[in-house]
């Protein structure tokens, strides 16, 4: 069929079977449907330009252009469906893939992304993002957490305590995301939880993005003394984004409990065979 669906009793995720990309997420509990397109893009890192000699590097994020390029506009997909899990495996390129997973009884989508080693044979440093685009009217506002505790409202090209003269339309709107970032339109909310601290922003209305990997070729002259360039073939990074589509009213309860479970995840210990009774005496 033209569409591909993975679902459980709470969530339904629909994919365009032509492009392999996520198309919409339905929260059947709250009867909410949000069109969400998600993909990977990369910023071409600046090495200094006419405006400023500042390059993008370990300390400084400074993309060479405002618009990122897509890693791919489509993904080869594989589908796995069992009683306990339904997942779509997306292969965007030789160095970028993702598994969108929905476990039985789970109220969020799990996006497990694997990025790297980032190719730099073209002599371009790259800063890779995962971006979610929706029709939500967010008026340039988005929310990020601070150390997993306080949630701060962010507004594009704006600082609450001083008058900002924005010179970096992308980097100047990036903020730390320690556990979660979200956008809302007053009724519906799209929340993305991370499993590590990342940079994130909302540079277009209804859109939010998180930086998942960087590989840079130039030192930014800010003290580290070398480019952010891993040795050998470079690093492959794997992580997870948990996506919650809900009403604004019900969002906080969901993402607070989920964020706590992420940072204090259960630890799994194995032991082969069977054991023997043990008494500390």
């Amino acid at each position: 069929s033209r569409v591909l669906v993975i679902e459980n009793k709470y969530i339904r995720a629909t994919f365009d079977s032509d492009t392999g990309l996520l198309m919409k997420i339905e929260n059947m509990e709250e009867n909410i449907l949000l069109e969400v397109s998600q993909g990977f893009f990369w910023y071409n890192a600046s090495v200094g330009d006419g405006k400023s000699s500042q390059a993008s590097g370990a300390y400084i994020f400074r993309p060479g252009a405002r618009k990122p390029r897509p890693v791919s506009r489509w993904a080869q997909i594989s589908l796995v469906k069992t009683d306990l899990v339904q997942e779509v495996h997306q292969n965007f390129s030789a160095w970028c893939s993702q598994v969108i997973r929905l476990y039985k009884g789970q109220r969020h989508l799990e996006l497990e992304w694997t990025v790297g080693p980032i190719p730099v044979e073209d002599d371009w440093g790259k800063e890779v993002i995962s971006r979610f685009d929706t029709p939500l009217k967010t008026k340039g506002e988005f929310f990020t957490d601070s150390n997993g505790r306080e949630i701060l409202k962010r507004r594009g090209d704006y600082r609450p305590t001083w008058t900002l003269n924005q010179t970096e339309p992308v980097a100047g709107n990036y903020y730390p995301v320690n556990t979660r970032i979200y956008i809302m339109d007053g009724q519906m909310q799209l929340t993305v939880l991370t499993d590590r601290s990342q940079g994130g922003s909302s540079l277009q209305d209804g859109s939010l993005e998180l930086m998942v990997h960087r590989r840079l070729l130039v030192d930014d002259q800010r003290g580290v003394g070398e480019a952010l360039l891993e040795t050998n073939t470079g690093d492959k990074v794997r992580g997870r984004h948990l996506v919650v589509v809900s009403s604004v009213r019900g969002a906080a309860a969901r993402h607070r409990l989920l964020a706590e479970q992420e940072v204090l995840a259960p630890q799994v210990v194995l032991a082969p065979g069977s054991g023997s009774p043990y008494r500390s005496q």
Partner: protein, 171 residues
Amino acid sequence: SGNSAPLKEAMAVLQHHDAVSGTAKQNVVNDYAKQLAAGWGPCEVLVSNALAQLSQYKQNFSFCRELNISICPVSQKSERFRVTVYNPVGRKVDRMVRLPVGQGNYFVKDPNDKSVPSNVVMVPSSYQSYQFELLFPVSVPALGFSSYSVTKVSGRNDQARHLLARPRKPK
């Protein structure tokens, strides 16, 4: 003997802003990783001792450090093994455990010796041979742990579903 001090010291060193933000030289980053890895070992012994004492069961506990890339020798090679899940959150947590296994069917029992529904899923990977992962739900009490037993019951896998893979031609 178990000891959590090396890990604590490594974590203390990693409070440096360069470690937190990744703005250190590559060799320093490698050293941070080395200190952390050196701290894991004695801490795992400590956790194993604690689990043995608390569960009144002495086992050869194993921590699979590469579970995120589907590598875990114990679950991949053993016919029988136990999975102990510890929950550091102050409320009961329901979670799906996912372990790389060899091909076959598996029988999972919960701490009350009741059977637990489980699936073996095929993981499409870039290697030619498929990988299999055992999936089963666990329920772990607040600030506590649960132990599940897993037994391989057959070499063939009739649970796995077929993969729908459609190569795409770029438009």
